[in-house]
Symmetry: C2
């Protein structure tokens, strides 16, 4: 007998039919003799509907009242899912975040889980109930409701799995697992059996939106084994764990990220402290910089090029202008760029990975604009129009057709 945590997102419980489908997955797991704790998000569009209701009242709702409003969404879905499980013939009990013992920081809208007092969950499991917990929400020291922010339900699920020392945390999504590339775009994309936390983090950051980063970081910290799998197709998914089987793969996946803006600054005086000045201005504005490239330009001047997410482009340009007394033509921003990356913990000891990637791009006549490397990834910046072709070419190089 195992203790299994299962998490279902909003689209998995969007209507009565899908709720019954999810209840089927849950009761199958329970009937195999497992203890089951379920974490569920608000139904399909409920969150958006509630946000609309707030905006009909005011442009600037207080964050406390927004959390009061939003947490009603999961309350509805846990009650409906508990009814569906009971209808399927198994005992169930729904619990709100505070009933399940989710104590968080006070920051409304972006609260962090501080502790889980799992007494109630444990008591319900002892009574052989399937426990259905509202994801995304908790309670702060003032006894007020809080939400965990984007992807919060994944984090809720991993946190419960950690608190209960669950044997596995299953995250059900609309894809079958983690793939070597986006299967909707790349014909030969392969589902990975296993992947490490670090690889998963790199993949998530690079645009393979399967798992929320905070949840993977928490899973790594508490060594919670995650399985990513489909709520619609009953096939094994991808296991995320500390040490994954290598499967003779150096590279785990190829990803594309088009949420990139490239800012180029030319003709900066070539004196010390310039980079520090610029990047401290960006840090003050809480702008994350990804790839950085600095070169000496003509006449004792420097060029600095860096990338940020698109919504930070304007802020980054302002930061540049406030850092240097510079002509307008010397600051340019290009948003027609894409970042293509290969990720894999195996690659650091295999120097051929980078050259294999570059060769594939060269043979497809794709120009590389910037390059960045870490221990487990290689990223290149290219023209956005070449992005899908680049992913296919690089993927073919590392995962030749069977």
């Amino acid at each position: 007998m195992s203790l299994i945590v299962q998490k279902f997102g909003g689209s998995s419980v969007a209507d009565a039919e899908r709720v019954m489908n999810v209840a089927g997955i849950i009761t199958d797991t329970y009937r195999k003799g497992n203890d089951v704790v379920v974490v569920v998000s608000a139904q399909g569009d409920t969150t958006d509907d509630l946000i609309d209701k707030a905006h009909e009242i005011t442009d600037k709702p207080s964050k406390r009242e927004m959390d009061m409003l939003m947490t009603a969404g999961e309350q509805i879905s846990i009650a409906l899912l508990a009814m569906a499980v009971e209808k399927s013939g198994c005992p169930a009990v729904s619990l709100l975040g505070w009933q399940a013992g989710f104590h968080t920081s006070s920051a409304y809208g972006i609260a962090r889980i501080k502790s889980i007092k799992a007494d109630r969950i444990k008591a319900e499991l002892d009574r052989h109930n399937i426990v259905i917990v509202a994801g995304f929400q908790g309670i702060n020291k003032y006894d007020d409701l809080t939400t965990l922010g984007r992807g919060g339900s994944d984090t809720s699920a991993v946190a419960i799995a950690a608190a209960l020392h669950a044997d596995r945390c299953q995250i059900f999504t609309d894809v079958e697992g983690v793939f070597t590339a986006d299967p909707r775009k790349v014909e030969n994309a392969q589902k990975l059996q296993e992947i490490t936390y670090d690889e998963m983090l790199e993949l998530a950051t690079l645009g393979a939106q399967v798992l929320n980063n905070r949840s993977v970081e928490m899973a790594k910290k508490y060594n919670v084994e995650i399985e990513v799998l489909s709520s619609l197709k009953r096939v094994p998914g991808t296991i995320v764990k500390e040490v994954a089987k290598m499967e003779k793969m150096l590279v785990r996946g190829v990803t594309k990220d088009t949420d990139v803006a490239r800012i180029s600054v030319t003709n900066i005086p070539n004196i010390p402290g310039i980079a520090f000045k610029l990047f401290s201005k960006l840090a003050q504005r809480k702008i994350n910089v990804d790839i950085i490239l600095q070169s000496v330009g003509r006449d004792d001047t420097k060029d600095i090029t860096f990338t940020v997410s698109k919504d930070n482009a304007d802020g980054a340009i302002e930061a540049v202008r406030s850092s240097f007394d510079i002509e307008e033509k010397d600051v340019t921003c290009d948003t027609n760029v894409a970042k293509i990356s290969v990720v894999g913990a195996g690659m650091e000891s295999h120097p051929g990975t980078a050259s294999k990637m570059f060769e594939a791009l060269f043979e497809s006549d794709i120009n590389i604009d910037m390059i960045s490397t870490s221990e487990i990834k290689i990223s290149v910046l290219i023209d956005a129009k070449d992005a899908d072709r680049a992913v296919s070419a690089v993927h073919r190089a590392f995962f030749p057709d069977k």
Copy 2:
């Protein structure tokens, strides 16, 4: 400075515009220097929408999960109303039933308030916040959410007013107050300035659906002064209190109740214990009997006629058949009847009231079928087709045109 509790029903907060209207009433009260605690129901159709969602899943949702589902309705409306009050420039904080300290019995769907631990409400008032509390809901000894059943928000409001020793409990509805008759039906219906708890209870029972009976009973018990008034028209309403000014009125109002079935049983043997046998059978089935009339029939037999609510008619007939060995033709049921009543604490010492009522009906050529009297009311059963005409005639007799 006074402490005022204000309650708004679902239709008063049905959409953003009405929520802003209610926020206007609340902030006007606050800006006059009062402490304000607000109790609010779920928005318009939210409750029905949630019930529909449950029934898409199952015919028989568990009561616990229904309460988990339904309480999300008020959670949404308190958050929106708090946002609207904040937008109107006053500080507000929304509180769920459990946060406001509503401890109830464990009976899901029909819980009774056991106690209110008002520490949080008091603390928020001390911080000069307008406190917006979810009506209709509480928490039981298992830390599970409960609902109070029909009219529960009125009860929530009166209970808070009692717990806080509020100066007044204002119940906002879609009518301007309590009238001497239904103002949509009777031209000359007059709004009462004041009315006693007992009169209000009789009026509520008799079909003037302004205030929920449980809330009036609680107000009487804790001597909470209620004002019934309109959320749309800013005019004084009707005060419900222990001793009302007499306003030279013997009669407070004339009401009509068409939810009546008359059961007649003829040819019952005239021996002792017959009535006891019948009415104990009815009591076992939890059927409330209203008017009872017993007469000696022909040949040492009795006739018993009594009235019940329409949905209890079939159960009452079964109870009759199981009580007596009786022919089918001797039990008849008539649902085309209406009960017309005059209510007023002053009438008991004025014997002319009944004859005045009967005279008005006689002059309108309306036949009286049964009569029932108590200290503060006189009811007659008549043909349903005459009901509206009867109310007008009786009302005209007691409230002549000015």
